[in-house]
Symmetry: C2
Subunit: 426 residues, 2 copies
């Protein structure tokens, strides 16, 4: 069976791709499986999932500051980050890659201290990333200790990385100003100008909490969305993370500008930020992707959980079970998310699209009975149900095991990082 | 490591029990594991989870009516239930038992068409249940076709079952009037009198939706909680399911009466009912258990999901990350839930309590790093992480496999039920 953008399901389906990693056939089975084929009998075949907002290398901070709201959490997390070495970040990233791949995520957007080495790790693992090196202000913020570069140097680095990875099918580079409350107006204007000049996307956190909006109104007389629009940031393709407290006017601004939103229901709830006005965004025609945010505010990277939590949350807060259809969040996690993160070639199973495919097992109690695959995927499935994952035609997860990374070594290394941070033996 | 009622954690812990299934030791390891011992090195040992609200035999209706609110959903579900045979219900129950055991649930409260045969299945599987045979009115409601008994006959049956299972450590019987909007006042008065006479508990759905409260105010001039109090139902130990729309006064009534609440965050969201005022209930001293409700409104039976969703939901809607502590929902899923469902002997790992123990594996990416076991259990763990389950000292799940039921046969039978309901080949 396959799930595609239009929600159509093909029992006994077949998916084929060429040597370049592009799909050539998606439809009913045309004949018996060949010797080199993956047997998908009794499974659900769906597009690779797209995590539209992550900070992957932070996995070593899982479980730090579980009970803090965003402002206090940011302070605690940055304090912990300052103690992470470049090696710590690398093992942390690899742990996230394993966790994402095993749970069916093939593409992600990520703001962090990206460099060529880390980006190479993503490509080597077989994943796709829209990577945005984080920028706060122009002054060095010593964040983390391993990376004392200032904001201007990071913007220069972003442009160099974009040139180095131009045309790459696994790595795309975007500018990553952290947020309007951490990046001053001159930085955001500079980012807008550079992005327009280099034809690059921008990823920025906007309107995550109510206090952020109140502060912006007090300081600029504008909501955070109107503020970044005024600075020219929405004249380039921008992915706005969170938008939890976007007003009706903000939503119209985002829709008119063609900006996309990365919606993170679990992180927004856990940090006490709230619930984004997703039905209004969808009604206005905003492209909404779905993300986990970092594990330090989640604490997992399972997109199936975001789909279910996001769907039922909207129903609960609007007190209407039909406020979002069952499949709306599945689309955010696939086709819409792919467009949001600048990889429109993935997220849909159709000829001509990239061969990023997830095979979900159905031999479990929660898949029984299998009344409608979209019901199972949206309300019962977990990342643990993912059996195989293919990216660009390459089998990167086989029978639940990531073939491109050494999970045991990675877990040991990240465990050692956490013990060192806690002051115990590494 | 162990997690107990006081939240204390014992790395390298040991749990021992006597032949009667009662714990004799919980604490630091006293020596190397013996030949018959379960090796729990590198795991977390916690109390068996308590699902405070289920309708287990409905698993064959998983995925029916995913997009309906409670009122429409009830009509559709009852239409489907009428087509279920007694055999269908039995296989549906067994599927739920497998799903609950594998995800660490050892005790549950359940309203359905209970009879001695179904209760025997629960005990044979090694689980514990507070079972409440459903009563609507006194007239036969033909619900389902296999069970044309009327309400008075069901109340008589409830008393007979209670006598038959008196002193049983796996089965306890309660009265199960469905709800104040389906069970007329004379039924609820009768239930209150019978429960007082027989010293039995009552399980009833109350204040699940806003329209239910509005209707009750219009009809009786009282909220549903005040209405059932007026009828004497809170003079016996009553477990109120949902209480989503309990007012401050309602919460004081429940607290004063010593009534317990079964809180079902996922089901309440999915059906568009809302979010229960849990912090206010806890502050008032109400005993709050945690439940999944039926898979037809969830669509899983994983208590770890209820813990995480419930915790972050309260933080999100109150816009305060500290509104419920990390461990509050873990307690609802264990010690408080056990008291709520009338099995106070379980839910806590301590000498003298029953040996209902769950061993959670930590050899996964989401358990890495392991900063605090309660953080992992509350925000990252899934039922899939459960490795072994012991009930009354008996090993009923070993390495993720239920030893007391044939999962493959059960899945095949429930699949056949669903195909028959859909009009296809059984």
């Amino acid at each position: 069976m396959t799930f595609d953008d239009a929600g159509s399901i093909h029992p006994d389906g077949e998916v084929a791709h060429d040597d370049g990693g592009t799909l050539t056939y998606v439809g009913p089975r045309r004949g018996p499986a060949g010797a080199g084929d993956l047997d998908v009998t009794g499974t659900i075949v769906m597009p690779g999932l797209v995590n539209a907002h992550a900070h992957s290398a932070m996995t070593s901070l899982r479980g730090v500051s579980d009970d803090l709201d965003l402002a206090s959490w940011l302070r605690e997390i940055r304090r912990a980050e300052l103690r992470l070495t470049a090696e710590d970040l690398r093992w942390g990233l690899r742990l996230a890659l394993v966790e994402m791949l095993r749970s069916g995520t093939t593409t992600f957007a990520d703001m962090f201290l990206w460099d060529a080495g880390l980006l190479g790790d993503v490509a080597a693992a077989g994943m796709r990333v829209m990577a945005a090196p984080t920028v706060f202000g122009y002054e060095s913020v010593g964040y983390p200790s391993a990376d004392p570069r200032d904001g201007r140097a990071t913007l220069d680095l972003t442009e160099r990385l974009a040139a180095d990875f131009a045309g790459d099918r696994h790595v795309r580079i975007a500018f990553g100003p952290h947020a309007p409350y951490t990046s001053p107006p001159e930085v955001l204007r500079d980012v807008a100008a550079r992005a327009a000049r280099r034809d690059l996307r921008v990823l920025i956190h906007v309107s995550e909490t109510a206090p952020e909006v109140a502060d912006s109104l007090a300081l600029h007389g504008l909501t955070p969305v109107a503020h970044v629009e005024r600075l020219g940031l929405l004249e380039v393709p921008t992915l706005v993370a969170h938008a939890v407290h976007a007003t009706e006017d903000d939503i119209q601004i985002l829709a008119a500008a063609g900006a996309a939103v990365a919606h993170n229901p679990v992180s927004n709830l856990k940090l006490g930020s709230g619930a984004a006005p997703v039905p209004a965004m969808l009604a206005a025609g905003v492209t909404v992707g779905l993300g986990t945010d970092s594990v330090a505010s989640n604490n997992t990277l399972d997109m199936f959980e975001e789909v279910k939590t996001g769907t039922i949350l909207q129903r609960g807060i609007h007190r209407a079970a039909d406020v979002v259809a069952s499949e709306a969040y599945l689309r955010m996690a696939t086709a819409a998310g792919a467009r949001a993160v600048g990889f429109p070639e993935t997220g849909v199973l159709a000829p001509g699209r990239w061969a990023d495919v997830v095979v979900v097992g159905t031999d479990s109690t929660r898949a029984t009975p299998m009344r409608a695959p979209a019901s199972f995927l949206g309300f019962a499935a977990r990342g643990d149900d993912v059996r195989h994952v293919v990216v660009a035609g390459r089998l990167v997860v086989r029978d639940g095991v990531v073939t491109t990374l050494d999970e045991a070594e990675i877990r040991a290394q990240v465990g050692a990082t956490a013990r060192r941070l806690a002051g115990g033996p590494a």
